[in-house]
Symmetry: C2
Subunit: 268 residues, 2 copies
């Protein structure tokens, strides 16, 4: 099992890379190939669009690569996602693509193109409290298809997205078909009024209204309102689901933290 790491959004830190390489060496059940593009920096991004796209296209076309693991989130994968999916090489199929947060733009497009996308922890997560567990969980899915890595209440088919990313991919060429999907959402570092506004937008979408149910992961690091918003994220999501006729399925075990579980988009 050979896993290639590329960074379509923000750069991977050397510290995270070294720690993950040590974990992989100790496991001995896979080989990790961290693309040098992961360490580029161009303003906010892990190198310019061209470099991030070229690295991704390179590992997608590499027949020796079994899985592609996105290094970290941040922002930027949407800038290259459409181009990454043009004239897909045959070798791009049969690989698993894993990441979350901003990588959701790519997961959506890859899944829509028929490739095997999965929400799950990323290499940069190793620096979180308990991050080694998160990295093992991701590898346990990629290498061993260990079902204990999965979000425990998944109903096939399932998808998971950062809510803000989901909102921003609706109506774009990356938007997948949500019909019948167990849709898991989470968010991080947002004001509750933004969560409410984003749920208004997402719940109005005709395709989102076709999900089997919507479940809420953790909303971490809520930014305080200058006036208390007056309700919480569970009430917000349940309210917009009720207004839109979407089944609210309760909580989900995903989020921007080390406990984040794996959600394969393909049936498993």
């Amino acid at each position: 099992m050979r896993i290639a790491v590329v960074a379509p959004s923000c750069p991977l830190t050397r510290e995270a890379a070294g720690t993950v390489e040590a974990i992989v060496a100790e496991r001995g059940d896979c080989e990790l190939s961290i693309h040098p593009q992961c360490f580029l920096a161009d303003g906010h991004f892990a190198g310019p669009d061209e470099a991030r796209l070229a690295a991704l296209r390179e590992v997608m076309a590499d027949t020796s690569v079994d899985a592609i693991w996105f290094a970290r989130g941040g922002y930027g994968s949407n800038r290259i996602a459409e181009a990454a999916l043009v004239d897909l090489p045959e070798a791009a199929r049969g690989k698993t693509y894993m990441g979350y947060s901003d990588a959701g733009f790519l997961l959506a497009g890859l899944h829509k193109a028929g490739l095997d996308a999965a929400w799950g922890p990323m290499p940069q997560d190793v620096l979180r409290d308990g991050g080694d567990t998160a990295v093992h969980r991701a590898l346990n899915w990629l290498v061993l298809r260990d079902t204990s890595a999965l979000e425990p209440h998944l109903q096939d088919p399932a998808m998971a997205f950062n809510l803000t990313v989901l909102s921003n991919l609706l109506g774009t060429p990356l938007e997948p078909d949500f019909t019948g999907v167990d849709l898991l959402i989470e968010d991080v570092s947002e004001h509750l009024y933004r969560i409410d506004r984003t749920m208004f937008h997402v719940a109005a979408s005709a395709t989102i209204r076709k999900v089997a149910c919507l479940r809420l992961g953790r909303v971490n690091g809520v930014v305080p309102n200058d006036v208390e918003f007056g309700t919480d994220e569970v009430a917000i999501v349940a309210d917009w689901c009720a207004r839109a006729g979407i089944e609210f399925g309760g909580r989900a075990d995903i989020g921007h933290d080390a406990r984040n579980r794996v959600v394969p988009f393909a049936r498993h």
Copy 2:
């Protein structure tokens, strides 16, 4: 000319209300009726949804009211906009509706329903530096149809939106037809990476791609990125316009400040 003030988003302050009332008294060319709902508070909002909706519906149906002026932005008009437009009373027609920022959700829906919506300064703006000028500008349009209040390079038909609000109303029942429109956008208190992500979303919209051109107002109070984003708001908007085949028309004289000009959505 009788102008009713209601607050579909956040509460109006007593200080702003008093200052605007004094300006109106001094002008002597119109009558201002500040609805008591403007001073309600329910968490983040100027009263619960029901109270904000009821006040808006009341002044829409009031035949003695010639114009409806939204008190301030913040967040919340989207929560009542659809309901405000159901079974429109005949008296709702022939009035001008003015506001900006979060009120854009209402302006979009009102314009779509054939009513006379206009982007322009709001009562709460009076507390900004130079805010009395902004309030006079709004009143000069509402009362006198003074064209010097208008954004100086408008091409009929025109619309103006806060970019984040625009992004969140796409795909909802509030989305108007942008075909052939001189579309002005602005934003406030956002990170540049968010402006970039929102432009990705907006520029991908099939209906936005039908605008005559897109022009950029001021992007005030940009929140610093932890890493410099590496470009600015003009380059960001021009870039997404170029990618999407949208004509970028340069700058526009609107923004979250006292210089904010009026943009009538109806032909003028």
